[in-house]
């Protein structure tokens, strides 16, 4: 009776120890997940900030010059079309 009881309880303690370790790892993962979501949120707000600041700023960025060329092109096309219509 007594040895059987002892064996059962030793099983429990071994399982307990490994579970404690697993639990600590899971808590760590949860904390890192919270950190990751904070980074994600920050990244989102930065992307928004970048979107908003692009059209206003008069920087010499290639994309912007390209956009400008397209704008000039459409204006010119429109003018030609108007002339042809007249």
């Amino acid at each position: 009776m007594i040895p059987l009881l002892a064996l059962e309880s030793s099983d429990r303690y071994v399982a307990g120890a490994y579970l404690v370790f697993l639990l600590l790892l899971l808590i760590y993962v949860a904390i890192m997940a919270a950190k990751l979501s904070r980074i994600q949120r920050e990244l989102g707000s930065l992307a928004e900030l970048a979107d908003r600041s692009r059209p206003r700023g008069a920087s010499h960025d290639v994309g912007e010059i390209h956009e400008r060329e397209q704008e000039i092109g459409t204006v010119r096309e429109q003018a030609q079309r108007e002339e042809a219509a007249r």
Binding site: S9, S10, Y13, V14, V20, M32, L36, I39, A50, G57
Partner: protein
């Protein structure tokens, strides 16, 4: 540590960790024989002792990074020392909890003051727990890093000295309760060594993970500053 492994990616490291740990614990539970004295409860040994060994080595690694930080003034080394201590403190908490469970299972008490290794570990853990209030109490970035490094070196020197002191405090004839790895039969030594390597890999993976996460949030802050300056 991180330097030597620079060419390996975090992903490969994580895969290696999972593989070695799975192999180690499979060996520990299915291949290693049951201990003649302690029975099944001895299986905690394969978890508890690698955790403790790796945590202590991690603190020593932190002291080495701290020395490099003071030598070079490069904040990269301070970040490594910080993260090494942080992961070792988490491992240390696991060591104390699994140690208490082992003591309860083997001797029927949750804490055993006569076991010098466990008591030494508690003292070292308490010391490293003060690393966080120390860092938070110093606002200046540069000074915080330097003071944290001085602490890491002091504490690193303290670790072996403390183990010696606590061992000396035990009566000389007290039997060693946790047999050290030297006295193990081969059939237990090999699983133990695989578990130890697995635990060391886990420590390295977590340190790497945490450092990457820190670097990512640091870069985000820099980008925000740069964007806000132009906007």
């Amino acid at each position: 540590m991180a330097n030597a492994l620079n060419s390996i990616t975090l992903r490969r490291l994580a895969i290696a960790t999972v593989a070695v740990m799975a192999a180690g614990y499979a060996l520990a539970f299915f291949a290693a024989p049951e201990d003649a004295d302690q029975g099944f409860i001895q299986k905690i040994f394969y978890l508890h002792v690698p955790l403790a060994t790796v945590a202590l080595c991690g603190w020593i690694v932190a002291a080495i990074h701290a020395i490099r930080h003071l030598r070079t003034g490069d904040p990269k080394h301070d970040a490594r020392a910080y993260v090494s201590i942080h992961i070792s403190v988490i491992f240390g908490l696991a060591v104390l909890l699994t140690g208490a469970i082992w003591a309860k299972g083997a001797w029927g008490v949750w804490w055993e003051w006569k076991e010098p290794t466990l008591v030494s570990f508690l003292i070292v853990f308490l010391l490293y727990a003060t690393y966080y209030p120390l860092r938070y109490a110093i606002e200046d970035r540069d000074r915080q890093a330097r003071y944290a490094s001085v602490f890491a070196i002091t504490a690193g020197a303290f670790v072996p000295l403390n183990f010696l002191a606590v061992r000396l405090a035990q009566p000389l004839i007290h039997p060693r309760t946790f047999s050290s790895a030297g006295g193990l039969p081969d059939s237990m030594l090999w699983p133990f060594l695989v578990c130890l390597v697995g635990m060391a890999l886990l420590w390295t993976t977590l340190v790497w993970f945490e450092l990457d996460s820190k670097a990512a949030s640091g870069n985000l802050k820099r980008i925000r500053r740069a964007l806000e300056a132009t906007a």
